[in-house]
């Protein structure tokens, strides 16, 4: 390992903590606690961004950090929380199918992500490249969360966790995309969050629950009448 500055090491540690929150999300059955963990994850991504800005003297990253903090640790968790209260799901506890197996699958996926980015890491350009693997793992664990959950709100949290992974990748690997793109992406995510709320209502009106497993009328091969 090459020598790293203190700030770079801090970036590493925080990225690892983001990965840790992903595992926490995977096995958290209580909906409100899931949202809280998700907000923490957003805050950590913002902190990584701010650290990168300091470490590499990229002032425009401070804007990104502020944007992430407001959006990912503030607005979106708050909106989701409001929906949860409005739908009367405050005390909802999801029955998870075998958390140990899900955690193990998550571990396997993290190893897989490291394997995928192995050819990139061999180039040894900057040490932060390691974080590409971590951010990819965050994306994939978000995906795993969406696969294993049946509750619409937790699926959305999984989706947003994936987006957190993407933000992390953009910040650590490339020191931030151009501002216009970041704003566009943030706008899309915000609109998506609003639309998800609309869908919670529509799904509840349609099937009288938010268990999306019951949305199964269109499955191929079933009788469609």
């Amino acid at each position: 390992m090459t020598h790293l500055t203190l700030l770079d090491q801090a970036v590493f540690v925080l990225a690892a903590v983001v990965l840790f929150t992903c595992f926490a999300l995977l096995t958290q059955a209580r909906l409100v606690a899931t949202l809280r963990t998700f907000a923490w994850q957003g805050g950590l991504v913002a902190a990584v961004t701010a650290l990168m800005a300091a470490a590499h003297r990229e002032p425009h990253l401070y804007v990104t950090a502020a944007l992430t903090l407001v959006l990912k640790a503030g607005v979106i968790p708050w909106m989701l929380h409001r929906w949860v209260r409005r739908l009367g799901l405050d005390r909802h506890v999801e029955s998870l199918a075998s958390p140990p197996a899900v955690t193990l699958a998550g571990v396997g996926l993290v190893i897989f992500c490291y394997w995928v980015v192995l050819p990139i890491e061999r180039m040894e350009l900057t040490a932060t490249r390691n974080v590409i693997a971590v951010s990819l793992a965050v994306v994939v664990l978000g995906l795993l969360m969406m696969v294993t959950r049946r509750q619409a709100v937790s699926q959305v949290v999984g989706f947003m966790a994936m987006e957190n992974g993407l933000f992390l990748a953009a910040v650590t690997a490339t020191s931030g995309m151009p501002l216009v793109v970041e704003l566009g992406v943030a706008f899309d995510i915000l609109v998506a969050a609003v639309l998800f709320g609309v869908f919670f209502l529509q799904i509840r009106d349609a099937i009288d629950s938010l268990d999306v497993d019951r949305l199964n009328r269109l499955a191929e091969g079933m009788e469609q009448e």
């Binding site: 995928v116 980015v117 050819p119 990139i120 180039m123 350009l125 590409i132 990819l136 994306v139 995906l143 969406m146 619409a152 699926q155 989706f159 994936m162 987006e163 992974g165 993407l166 990748a169 953009a170 690997a173 490339t174 020191s175 995309m177 151009p178 216009v180 793109v181 566009g184 992406v185 706008f187 899309d188 609109v191 998506a192 639309l195 998800f196 609309v198 869908f199 529509q202 799904i203 009106d205 349609a206 099937i207 999306v212 949305l215 199964n216 009328r217 269109l218 191929e220 091969g221 469609q224 009448e225």
Partner: protein, 490 residues
Amino acid sequence: MNALLVAVFTPAVGLLLLGLVPGLTLAGWLNVGLSSLSLAGAVTLAWQVLADGPLNANGFHVDAFNVYLVALTAFVGFTTSVFSRPYMRHVCDSRHLPRRHMRLYHAMFQGFMFTMMLALTTDNLGILWVSVEGATLATVLLVSLYRTPEAVEAAWKYFILCGVGLAQALFGTILVYFAAQLALTDPTRGLSWTVLYAISDKLDPTVMSIAFVFLLVGYGTKVGLVPLHSWLPDAHSEGPTPMSAVLSGLLLNVALYALVRLKMLTDGALLGTAAPHTAGHLLMAFGLVSFLVAGLFLHRQRDVKRMFSYSSIEHMGLMTFAFGIGGPLATFGALLHMLVHSLTKSAIFVTVGHAAHIAGTQTIDHIRGLIRTQPAVGWGLTVGVLAIAGFPPFGVFTSEFLLLTATMESWPWLTVTLLAGLVIAFAGLFRHLHPMVFGVAPEGQQPVPANMAPVTVHLLLVLWLGLAIPGFLAGWLDQATHLITGSGLL
């Protein structure tokens, strides 16, 4: 430049304007007016680009490849808006939809057109992603417009699957930007496609090939490639028919356009390596599987719009396969196929919308005797299906013939597979079509007021393209081929 701004930003104005207009009649006409203004801009732009060469300014890049898609998109958008005005009125009355739903519909129709235009004309790969994602956001509420459990399910599936898929594409885009930073002196321009294309041989091949896999999965979800296609039949069958027409005719093209642009970058980066055609081979594999699987699925459909959405997957698979082969002949064929497929498929969806009104259902088993009840709709559907199945005088035949010839040249043994796939799809379409148009009409089935003008125009264009491709269009497609493959066909 002004024509470009008119073409791209008229729909953006429309999005805001139609969100405020309460009257259904006024909104319908405004929708037509705005679409025709955008079409005028697109045609002028196409004219300018043809005469003066590529346009590159203010973050936009328009060359022969995308300008023809811009013109096509604006044209199909315009004819669909003409169709949608009376059609959505009818739907609104028969389904008792609240007026605010119609306001949403018109605003989002324009919003969708805006994202399509922006995705096609932008030079920035990040903006490209933002607008393709924006297209999902604009259309997702339209899929659930009727608020039936099926529609909500289809919309949720569409939202989640395309969202997740496009997240992979964003990761791919970030990796491309990362590769650009290693190669560029001014890294902030690393998302500009023209800048990247100029230095594509300096991009790191390992990073680019990993990036391409993510981009393929991401944009491939939007193209509807098997096995990422499962949102597509649902969204097409449950949404309002004008939406199905533009989704099938435009959105899938734009996603494929993004893939081809990114393949050009990846090919440049992999040129000096041991496996220079990795991107092409991936496209070929995904395309061929989609083509065959969708052809088989055609046989077991019960919903008529679902059936035609599988036909769209089949044709997108064929185009993806052709772009994967590369080479001037295959690329020319694929570009022509994009054009004729969009025109034919949107015409078919418009006709199917009328047919479903006549029968009062979308279930194939209950749509009978269209020719007896309303000859215009019945014959429109028959001719449309003949065209899409690749029968001789129509343009789809020409492009499929070119694609088969190209396959014969480079991968002879795959020609058999392609032919078999075409026959399977043909059989699947016709076994359902025959009773629908020729069967015995149920008692009391009444004709509906139908506007067949868009269908006629589309099908006549496809016929024209099949009989004789006009010289300027051939030259145009050849310029695009030249751009993509480095050598022209003509």
